[in-house]
Symmetry: C2
Subunit: 239 residues, 2 copies
């Protein structure tokens, strides 16, 4: 299943202590249709407040409905800020998390003089000048296979911290700055720390060349701050 | 002052029993800056859930700040879904409500197959075909000076129910249908009942020619349903 949601009201896709998560809502809706507990496994654990346009999840359930019909039935049961966009029969052995080849995240920054009013949950508001060419130079240094230990949350205990950033592009359109990043996998808060570091470069607090030093340090304190969750979208997952 | 807000969380601009209204928030912020109670009077009483891009309000206060500075100070105190977009010294005798020559409202309908997910608070979702040429014919019959008694909420006790609709236009762009209406004044729920009636025409439940009959009846039950507040924006007020 392909799932989209506005993350504002949720504790992410999945939380440690079960809470108000997107996964819970979908499992509850599926259980009502299957008449039994259904486990749903998602491609990504998005943080609280993060949005998704194309999270992929798989599940196994005995429901006597065509996929298109099941999709409608689920959307009828789900809250309006969670939406199942497609359902297909998965090939044998498909795994939403382990099968993912890469994931694309998008981060949205609004640089206008005024706070974004009607779209507030979807934009980081940064009122000031950002040096986009410098940010692009910094971004280029992050592309490729690197040890991203400096770009993971200190609470993340993963031992293997090498990831491959396949693309990292920055687009500017009037007051909007859009950062799109594709990688074979992400450490906890990796996108948000990369964005926080790129903003530091855009503000002149760091130089593009500092990126190499930060990567080599493997030290979280060398990178920039973790940017807010609200500007972040999981855009798509590739298999 | 020119005020914009996302109305989702509020009981409108002003409510009978004082509650969580936009006016209250602005009065509270002004009182903090003035050190005394300040009364704010708005051009329009928007319903609960209705949004505004350009509501005009006036107030009298003794605050030693230039208007631009005052605007910043207010926005700093206001919640993120209420924004003061401009402040100017009003000419002597200016009255935000009585001085208004006309008001422009916009109603947004989303006709896509899927519910609008990220912009849910700003669109009425109508999944189905709307006959736009028929709606435009009906709209033309509403333009001009008419007794709109059939288009006011039964709770509205106003005796004078003649209003002049200066313009009523329907624009279609892909899945979006935008209805824009300008009048010298509006009765309670008048925009929402007009929109509900136009949707009835678009669905073939009423014919464009029925509009004349409804106007003449002066009977609320002849018009269509009151459409939801969520798709409605107060766009601008002219003086």
């Amino acid at each position: 299943m392909l799932v989209a949601y506005a993350g504002t009201r949720y504790e992410g896709w999945q939380s440690q202590r079960k809470g108000n998560t997107v996964q819970e809502h979908i499992e509850r809706a599926l259980a009502r249709l299957a008449g039994a507990k259904v486990n749903v496994l998602g491609s990504s654990r998005t943080d609280s407040g993060v949005h998704a346009e194309g999270l992929v999840a798989h599940f196994k359930a005995d429901i006597d409905m065509a996929p298109a019909r099941l999709r409608q039935a689920l959307n009828h049961l789900l809250p309006p800020d969670i939406q199942v966009r497609a359902i297909r029969i998965a090939p044998e052995g498909f795994h939403a998390r382990y099968g993912a080849r890469s994931k694309v995240y998008r981060y949205q920054i609004w640089t206008g003089r005024e706070r974004p009013l009607f779209e507030a949950p979807y934009w980081l508001w940064y009122h000031g000048q950002l040096d986009i060419p410098a940010m692009r130079q910094a971004a280029r240094r992050l592309v490729g296979k690197h040890d991203f230990a400096a770009f993971k949350d200190s609470g993340d205990e993963k031992k293997i911290t090498v990831r491959t950033v396949k693309a990292l592009r920055i687009r500017k359109e009037a007051q909007k700055v859009i950062i799109r990043i594709e990688a074979d996998g992400f450490l906890t808060h990796m996108v948000r720390i990369i964005v926080g570091t790129l903003i530091d470069v855009g503000r002149g607090r760091k130089a593009p060349a500092d990126i190499d030093r930060i990567l080599l340090s493997k030290d979280r304190r060398q990178a920039g701050p973790t940017s807010k969750a609200l500007g972040l979208f999981l855009e798509k997952v590739r298999y």
